[in-house]
Symmetry: C2
């Protein structure tokens, strides 16, 4: 999505947002955001599977059980992770303070944090900022929201679409943050997607689970998984367009897939130090898991990633990465392509291949690496980036 | 091992080596090596578990079955991997040519290759160099051998020790190569260790399997696994010291462990772009595999590795890496130490911890990261390096 398209997102009926600078980030940057959903809303969320799930994740899961969710309260600049019981109490204190201002129960507030791990959350700063934050709620505030949730992101991430069913319009809009520590395990990074479609809890849960699996759960920057990742999908129902079945359901699922895939790709493109956008597509697997294992083995290999950075068609590294993957692979029948150029067929260098052809494709900014295992019918796709000096620089200088 | 110690290695009775420059590497560098073992020798080897095991690995496995192994023929500069049936024929042609010169069956020759993947092997260059190579065999030639097997290595790797049983001396000496594409899966890199102990096939196999698991199989530079890795252990029996049981067996196993651990550590210290030597020790696991999963999750995390490079005690990244590991972990009771400084106790920042303390330890060249899962009795140790600009540079410029 180009920068000038950011103003063309659709408002979602029944959703208001707000963002302020509470002082958690330096230089008066926006660091505290609030999203309000109409009381008719249905709320779904999936979270990181880290053993060290952060305090707000634990509190959010508890609050969601009550099924009275109305607000997402999100701070950047501090992850409130590895902070123990005190961290949970801090997250809860923020919810309680906002609940009082908003006149709802504390379980209606779902908390999210992102930023440095292991530091206590400055609850006083957040509480002091809450009145202004609440006052600022407005249906147009998607852009400040997308800015306030950033950490090492260099660009805001917002995506939007709409569709019509029997003359009535349904809107879908979402924001996300993420740039490093990105390899999803169920859900990754932070993402908040809203629609004004009318849809039941069960259907919404199924859509979030299924679409997250094919979008946010198929991207990787560095193979590392955050303690705070969450993907949220909310439907307000205000459009009154029933999307529980038939064409409504089909359109809704397609629209949410578009928005989530846009956001997922935006995260990869903004990957720390990324100079390339790389799709790794593995076809012909005996099992879905085998395809995924090969795809991630390629996408997370430092040697493949440095070759991508160097525009070097060193396909030996692709061979290496496929070789170390788990699952059933017959090395004597594997084909490998970069874009449309065949590097390897039936387990060795393709006869038509030349270094010049390979180098030409590798110089492109967007590359598809395709592996055909030639064993079965399954396929999987993963998106990733290269590994550059800049990645090392960003992650060496983070915090200093 | 310091440079000036390289001349103090012990010769092993019944072993001769040789190395020449055949022209596979540029600039007349040594690139072809031969090791000869007395006809009394017992020969063990473990190999890469890559699906794309290279041609020489396939041929070596076949030849080993005949149990008449006498020679290791090793070329660097070309891996002869992903070269299909033609690659196997090339490896075999080299064996046949040497067998003729040495007057042995071709199955007595065990071939090894290391270098660029996917290029056909220049068999003519190798065959032309074989007479000189064979002529050059000498018991003192361990140093040229160690040099000829190098690829991106910056230092030769040789280790040695001896012990006495009832007044008789047993020698153990080994060489290895490896610097990147290092994460073992059964065996990694190339390593050739020889002893003049008298020991049966079964005992030798057990020792190689057990000791490789605790040394070469516990190092990682980048999580990538080569197509050509092999670890070879040969006993010539010429010392006539029976090491099949009792103190002889104990001493032999200890000695081989010392030599293989020295070589394994030398590989890590020479890791591509490495500025630090890092031991990751995970204790208190419920299962051995859980400890190993946590250790590798830390050792292979780009975010942990860049923090190590930057001397940044960013222990949130350790938390992240532990969190994404597989196995049973209770985040509320985990302790984390860097050297003797406790970063985290019972799942949150230790009260005595300060950034200054952490930074002081992280600045050291040799670092022990210790994680206590506080769940059980198992432990595992893995050795690794940091991730530097230099790693990206080396692997971006490889081949160019």
């Amino acid at each position: 999505m180009k920068d000038d398209e950011y103003n063309s997102f659709n408002q979602v009926l029944g959703v208001r947002a707000s963002a302020v600078a509470s002082g958690l980030k330096k230089n008066s940057k926006l660091d505290l955001a609030l999203i309000e959903f109409a009381s008719s809303s249905v709320f779904s969320a999936v979270f990181t599977q880290s053993h060290f799930a952060a305090a707000p994740v634990l509190v959010a899961k508890e609050h969601l059980k009550k099924r009275i969710s109305r607000y997402c309260l999100i701070n950047s600049g501090n992850a409130n992770a590895a902070t123990g019981l005190e961290g949970e109490r801090d997250a809860l204190r923020c919810c309680e303070a906002l609940a009082e201002i908003a006149g709802v129960k504390k379980e209606a507030i779902i908390p999210f944090s992102t930023g440095v791990i292991g530091e206590p959350l400055d609850v006083d700063k957040i509480r002091a900022a809450l009145p202004d934050l609440f006052e600022g709620l407005h249906k147009k505030n998607w852009l400040p929201l997308s800015e306030a949730i950033m950490t090492t992101d260099t660009k805001i991430k917002i995506a939007s679409c709409k569709f019509n069913i029997s003359g009535s319009e349904v809107n879908i809009t979402g924001v996300a943050k993420g740039s490093g520590m990105i390899q999803p395990n169920m859900a990754t990074m932070l993402s908040f997607v809203a629609t004004d479609a009318l849809v039941d809890q069960k259907i919404l849960d199924e859509i979030l689970f299924e679409v997250s699996a094919r979008t946010f759960n198929r991207i990787t920057i560095d193979g590392d998984t955050s303690t705070n990742d969450a993907s949220v999908l909310v439907s307000t129902g205000i459009s009154e367009v029933d999307c529980n079945e038939g064409p409504g359901l089909v359109e809704l699922k397609q629209g949410i897939t578009l928005v989530m895939r846009d956001l997922a790709h935006a995260i990869v493109k903004d990957g720390e130090g990324a100079t390339k956008f790389v799709e790794v597509r593995v076809t012909g697997g005996n099992k879905r898991e085998d395809c995924l294992s090969v795809a991630y083995s390629i996408a997370n290999s430092p040697l493949v990633k440095t070759a991508l950075f160097a525009n070097d068609p060193n396909w030996g590294r692709l061979v290496m990465a496929i070789g170390k993957a788990e699952g059933k692979i017959d090395s004597s029948i594997v084909d490998i392509f970069v874009n449309d150029v065949c590097l390897m067929s039936v387990g060795q260098r393709d006869q038509s291949y030349t270094e010049e052809k390979g180098a030409r494709e590798m110089r492109k900014g967007s590359i598809v690496i395709r592996v055909n295992l030639n064993l079965g019918e399954y396929e999987e796709t993963v998106w990733t980036t290269d590994l550059s000096y800049e990645y090392v620089k960003i992650n060496s200088e983070y915090r200093t």
